[in-house]
């Protein structure tokens, strides 16, 4: 059964078709269609209960590359992993990468994904120069930001609903080496985080913070953690061999390995890890994609799966709002493995439904514990909605239609671009 990364919900599809060449007519739809990349979304944005999934993983061909300008065109099922493997030795890098490189170009466009360099480079969609979009009526639209701005704004961040993205043209950015220079530092409270961030963001194109949301800092409030910043290095270190370790969680444990005891222990250990206040060389793989080193890490939550809760709060509400969210989590005693806190830059994503926007974003993981979990989420929803924030559709399996509409005010404008034969579990749920 095809699921998304967190394995909630578990739903059946009427048909699953693997597409393997561009221009291939889409299957005649007696039920709704939806493209599925590598299923690295959480929740039902890439699922289509009762409908058809169009698997894009075989649409993975390069089409053109200009080594002088770094502009690349490829089929939408190509993964960022393949793209980085291709580009880095040639001195180019993907301008925006999420926390895993096992996502497809199509998936990165459809969720308008963001990376640790949002304050510097914006979201993925800002670097897309063109796309081809196959509609269920057989039409193939050439979509560019200049010639078809409305289709562009609908398809970037369009959650796969405007049709099948067949090809993507992306502007890469130059790098000198596969290495980065990175530093990290502990902080004891959110106040310290904001201070650190204000100083770091101007100088460091990549920044992110991990928060221990179980254990209070020395002043008693939750919000201690580790802040890190990085940039692409201009020279490689002297001994510059790097081999990514290959570990995997081999099978599903019968119950979640994430529970109160392991969480507390993990967070303690994480906080105590060595930090590197002065910059040192690290390879881009472990720095940008720490979780990719352990294949199938989602299995640690067991068969029942888990949730990610990711929200963004606008600048005027971000400080109080983040503290309220963390306090809410601490009070619930459920705790999250690690909370990731990141301040977005001052630009909204190019898509009508883009999630990145000015403000700060917090992402939390929770094992599925039924009512208890839903109860906590309602509390967090309330804080987010009061603050005028939004939840990230790519990480959602449960937000209410009301919260979706308040977080994505252009949704009605967007709806007119939805392909009549396309739909998703997410879309049916939030537009109910």
């Amino acid at each position: 059964m095809t699921t998304s990364w967190n394995r909630i919900p578990r739903v059946a599809h009427a048909a699953e078709v693997t597409l393997n060449r561009r221009g291939q007519p889409l299957p005649g739809a007696s039920h709704p269609l939806l493209a599925y990349g590598l299923g690295r979304s959480y929740g039902d944005v890439c699922l289509n209960p009762g409908g058809s999934l169009l698997h894009t993983r075989d649409l993975d061909r390069f089409i053109a590359f200009d080594p002088d300008t770094g502009r690349i065109t490829a089929e939408a099922g190509l993964t960022l992993d393949d793209l980085l493997r291709f580009a880095v030795p040639r001195g180019w890098f993907v301008p925006v990468v999420p926390g895993t490189r096992f996502v497809t170009l199509g998936g990165a466009v459809a969720n308008d994904v963001h990376g640790k360099n949002h304050h510097h480079a914006g979201s993925f969609g800002e670097h897309v120069r063109a796309m081809t979009l196959r509609r269920s009526n057989g039409e193939c639209l050439e979509v560019t930001p200049d010639d078809t701005p409305d289709w562009f704004a609908a398809t970037v961040g369009g959650l796969g609903l405007t049709g099948l993205i067949e090809t993507v043209t992306l502007q890469l950015v130059p790098v000198r080496t596969p290495w980065m220079r990175a530093w990290s530092q502990r902080f004891d409270s959110l106040d310290e985080f904001w201070e650190l961030d204000a100083r770091a963001e101007r100088e460091w194109p990549y920044t992110v913070a991990w928060i221990d949301c179980l254990n209070p800092g020395p002043r008693g409030e939750v919000g201690r953690g580790i802040y890190s910043g990085a940039r692409h290095a201009t020279t490689a270190p002297a001994r510059s061999q790097y081999r990514e370790p290959r570990r995997a969680i081999p099978l599903d444990p019968p119950v979640s390995l994430v529970n109160r005891v392991t969480l507390r222990l993990f967070n303690q250990l994480y906080y105590r890890q060595s930090v590197h206040p002065t910059a040192r060389a690290v390879h881009h793989l472990p720095w940008l994609f720490p979780l990719d080193a352990i294949r199938h890490w989602n299995r640690i939550y067991g068969y029942k799966g888990f949730y990610q809760y990711q929200c963004v709060l606008p600048p005027h509400a971000q400080k109080d709002g983040m503290q309220a969210l963390l306090d809410g989590v601490a009070a619930s005693g459920q705790g999250s493995f690690l909370a990731v806190l990141k301040r977005f830059g001052d630009r909204a994503g190019p898509g009508m439904l883009s999630f990145p926007r000015p403000g700060a974003t917090l992402a939390l993981d929770f094992p599925e514990r039924g009512n208890e979990t839903e109860h906590l989420f309602r509390r967090l929803d309330h804080i987010v909605q009061e603050a005028g924030g939004a939840l990230y559709p790519a990480k959602d399996a449960r937000m209410s239609p009301d919260l979706f509409r308040s977080g994505f005010p252009r949704w009605e404008e967007f709806a007119s671009f939805v392909d009549p034969e396309f739909s998703s579990g997410f879309w049916r749920r939030v537009t109910k």
Binding site: N20, R21, D58, R61, I63, A64, P67
Partner: protein, 254 residues
């Protein structure tokens, strides 16, 4: 170690062959690809040219041909030699289909056609090129067989028969060409996640990705291995399966 700088791949749009071609292109090889369907071959050639930094399309070439049509073989081989010159390092035979055993059970014609596509047509091609390799006294010929060829099972023995026949032919050819320093490599993949196996339940540890198998193929070709089970665990599995006495085996629902 065999050089793999100029390689002919036949049946190139199959998932495993595509992955082999990509790996070779990334190492700068010159390639000549043959596939039946031009609409699938062209995008693949384009992909390989990008991966192989061959913007001017001089190193990565191909043609369309139906390799089940034995009469086309001479022309295909001539074109390959024209494209790559006389110093072809390696040839990989990768065409084939997975026949439906029930359909074969119901039709003699379907059975024979499946055996031709997967067996005799490959043997015809090998017979055609063997003298050239023999004469040049170097190079590697590899062909994709299957673990299904190791023992006939009710669920797919027509396919198994063709692949078994191919394996035996390769064995003889290996023996013959040994004296001309040409390596003949029999590839025996197990379960691979490809469009060919789309309808199967592909969960479980025995299913391998085409890229993994492709890396194994390239390695086996470089080293001139005789028989390569891919992934290697299939060597163990098939050894056990071959050892089951026939009077027991025939009672199994395999």
């Amino acid at each position: 170690m065999n050089r793999l700088q100029s390689v002919v791949i036949l049946g190139a749009t199959s998932a495993i062959a595509t992955a082999v071609a990509r790996e070779l292109a990334e190492h700068g090889a010159r390639l000549f690809l043959v596939a039946r369907d031009g609409e699938r071959l062209e995008p693949l050639l384009q992909d390989l040219r990008v991966r192989g930094d061959d913007a001017s399309a001089t190193r990565i070439l191909g043609t369309t041909a139906d390799l089940a049509d034995v009469d086309a073989h001479a022309d295909v081989w001539t074109q390959a030699q024209e494209a790559l010159g006389d110093n072809i390092d390696a040839v990989l035979l990768a065409w084939g289909t997975l026949p439906d055993q029930d359909a074969c059970n119901a039709s003699v014609a379907t059975t024979l056609e499946a055996i031709h596509v997967n067996g005799t047509s490959a043997i015809a091609f090998l017979a055609h090129i063997a003298p050239d390799f023999e004469q040049r006294g170097r190079g590697v010929i590899a062909a994709i067989g299957s673990v299904a060829g190791d023992r006939g099972r009710q669920s797919n023995y027509v396919y198994g028969t063709a692949k078994g026949m191919l394996a035996t032919y390769l064995q003889g050819l290996r023996n013959r060409l040994f004296f001309s320093s040409v390596d003949v490599v029999t590839i025996k993949p197990g379960f691979v996640r490809t469009p060919m196996t789309e309808g199967f339940n592909r969960a479980g540890a025995l299913w391998a990705e085409p890229e993994t198998v492709a890396r194994g193929i390239v390695k086996a070709m470089r080293r001139g291995r005789d028989v390569a089970y891919l992934p290697w665990i299939w060597w163990g599995i098939m050894t056990v399966i071959r050892l089951i006495p026939e009077y027991l085996f025939k009672r199994l629902k395999l």
